[in-house]
């Protein structure tokens, strides 16, 4: 921030030396975080690409190159379609219900008073418990409920198992959505509501004409993030349905990737699916985000 005026007649090494003198302390500051990120996220992510073009089993020394065969095979694998279908179904339930319920509860508990504050704290509480533990808890509770009342355990029936998993997610994540929406709602100018009341707008009109448009950025953020969470589905079925059961009715894409890479010894194939899935997650979240951002402008 000292004299940064242009120095036209400097040679490249001099410029680099100057740059290094100025930036060295800051480069030192980003170095540790960068190393962790580079060595243990970015580099492995890139190293996965060549593996996806091989028929490697995951441990032997030979890695036969097969070109795009793994990618072509993905499109004829009925288990890929099954896993994608399960994951998308789960994601839709989670995104829609967590956001709708979270928003309604946020509006409901908007007023700051002692009992509302306590209720908010308690509604957020399930979110701090791990995905795994909450799944086991709900699994045992559903099972016990079946033992006592005879009402069928939805986690044990192929047709309803995804709804069961979504219920666990809704229990855990509704509080999260509520917290984000509360923060957004508290930022809305109170005078807007006063004007609306004077003009005779009811509660429901106020909600759709003031609250929703004003908190659109929070809606965009929540819908995008919960979509990403939903598409990463792994822990819930690992615990609540013993790794994707009954049969393969709750097998998610990430479970199928994991099973191919480790227990099935089809590392190349699993890695190809993993790469396609990263691209799909990007496309879906970016499309949703782009669509909602456009809505933000319109409203």
């Amino acid at each position: 921030m000292n004299s940064t005026t242009a120095a036209p007649k400097r040679s490249a090494p001099q410029r680099i030396a100057r740059y290094m003198r100025r930036e060295a302390p800051y480069l030192v500051m980003i170095l540790p975080a960068f190393l962790f990120f580079f060595l243990f996220v970015l580099l492995p992510l890139i190293e996965g690409i060549p593996i996806s073009f091989t028929e490697w089993d995951g441990f032997s020394d030979v890695r036969p190159f097969v070109g795009f065969q793994n990618y072509a095979k993905l499109f004829h694998d009925k288990f890929v379609y099954n896993a994608v279908g399960n994951t998308l179904e789960f994601t839709i339930y989670e995104v829609v219900l967590c956001n709708v319920l979270g928003l309604l509860i946020a509006v409901w508990l908007k007023k700051a008073c002692a009992h509302n504050n306590l209720f908010r704290t308690l509604i957020f509480m399930p979110h701090v418990i791990s995905l795994l533990l909450s799944s086991y808890m709900v699994r045992y509770i559903f099972n016990e409920f079946y033992n006592v009342t005879g009402v069928v355990n939805i986690l044990a029936v192929p047709k309803t198992v995804i709804i069961g998993l979504a219920l666990i997610a809704i229990w855990r994540d509704t509080g999260y959505c509520m917290v984000i929406y509360l923060a957004a709602i508290q930022g809305v100018d109170e005078s807007l509501y006063e004007v609306a009341r004077i003009e005779g707008a009811g509660r429901i009109t106020q909600f759709f004409k003031i609250t929703v448009p004003m908190i659109m950025p929070a809606i965009t953020a929540n819908v995008t993030l919960l979509t990403a969470w939903g598409l990463k589905l792994y822990d819930y079925p690992m615990a609540a349905t013993g790794g994707g059961g009954p049969g393969r009715a709750s097998e998610s894409v990430n479970i199928y990737i994991y099973n191919n890479i480790f227990p099935y010894f089809k590392a190349g194939y699993g890695q190809a699916l993993a790469i396609v899935w990263v691209i799909v997650i990007f496309i879906i979240t970016q499309c949703i985000q782009g669509y909602l951002r456009r809505k933000e402008v319109e409203l």
């Binding site: 975080a33 996220v41 999260y176 917290v179 990403a228």
Partner: protein, 275 residues
């Protein structure tokens, strides 16, 4: 606003019911954990009548609970400490410097926040294996730190941008260097966001599961999530013991939540709107 007291009462009752529904799994876990087998079948959902601790005793005996508990504590403290130091420095540089190198790094972190661990777990496993870090708590911590860097840097960076830069200029006039400025001027101002990131990272490390599955395979290196997974996967667990395990696994986290909820929630809000 004046509303009918009856309506207010109904409204309160409805809120109470929603909260009760959200809390019912905790209540059940707690009740079942403190009841002997015979009492569970006869007393249903009523509160435990006396302090019955055999479920906890049996669960402890069957699981060797203290080893995974201390492993989890260790990796949580280690990863959180490294993340806090590394990410607050990196976030500061990214927030303050205009040079392209920082911006590219920041953008890469944003992009990879969406990448699931499964996409790079095999190459990461191979790297850790060639460095002899499979089945070590260091290996687990390293993998977890890598996965958390993006989120931490992004929430801290957002906060640094709200600190007025004029405050820092005084140190430079006094002749202090970049590091003195950072540690003696900026860092104290970052206290609230550092508290937040410590707690959120600690929660995330404590709750991690899939990285554990990949990196830690020996029971003496298990963390709590792996203990839960193998315990419930291998045995037919009687209800009282299962819920005793749930209860003891939840208590540290819930205590932490109630003490630090203000920081947890503000951090969630900061991370949520940006990430």
């Amino acid at each position: 606003m004046k509303t009918n007291p009856v309506l207010r009462g109904v409204n309160f009752l409805l809120k109470f019911l929603v909260v009760a529904l959200m809390l019912s799994p905790f209540y059940l876990a707690f009740c079942y954990a403190f009841k002997p087998k015979e009492e569970i079948t006869t007393s249903g959902l009523s509160f435990p009548t006396h302090l019955y601790l055999d479920n906890f005793k049996n669960a402890f005996e069957r699981t060797n609970f203290l080893v995974p508990l201390s492993n989890t504590l260790l990796v949580t403290v280690l990863s959180t400490a490294v993340l806090t130091v590394a990410c607050s420095m990196a976030a500061y540089a990214i927030a303050r410097r205009k040079s392209r190198i920082y911006q590219v790094f920041g953008a890469l972190l944003m992009l990879t926040i969406l990448v699931p661990f499964h996409a790079y777990m095999l190459p990461l496993y191979m790297r850790l294996q060639s460095w002899g870090l499979i089945n070590t708590l260091t290996g687990f911590s390293i993998a977890k730190i890598g996965a958390q860097v993006g989120f931490s840097v992004i929430i801290i960076k957002g906060f640094v941008k709200t600190i007025p830069i004029e405050i820092e200029e005084a140190t430079y006039i006094d002749g202090g260097g970049v590091f003195r400025n950072f540690f003696s001027v900026v860092l104290p101002l970052m206290k609230p966001i550092i508290m937040t990131s410590v707690i959120i990272n600690a929660l995330d490390v404590w709750n991690e599961y899939v990285i554990g599955v990949v990196v830690l395979q020996k029971p003496d290196k298990y963390i709590l999530s792996l203990l839960q997974y193998t315990f419930f996967g291998q045995y037919f667990v009687n209800l009282g013991q299962a819920f005793a395990i749930f209860t003891i696994s939840m208590i540290p986290i819930l205590v932490l939540y109630f003490i630090f909820q203000r920081f947890i929630i503000s951090g969630i809000v900061m991370g949520g709107v940006k990430g």
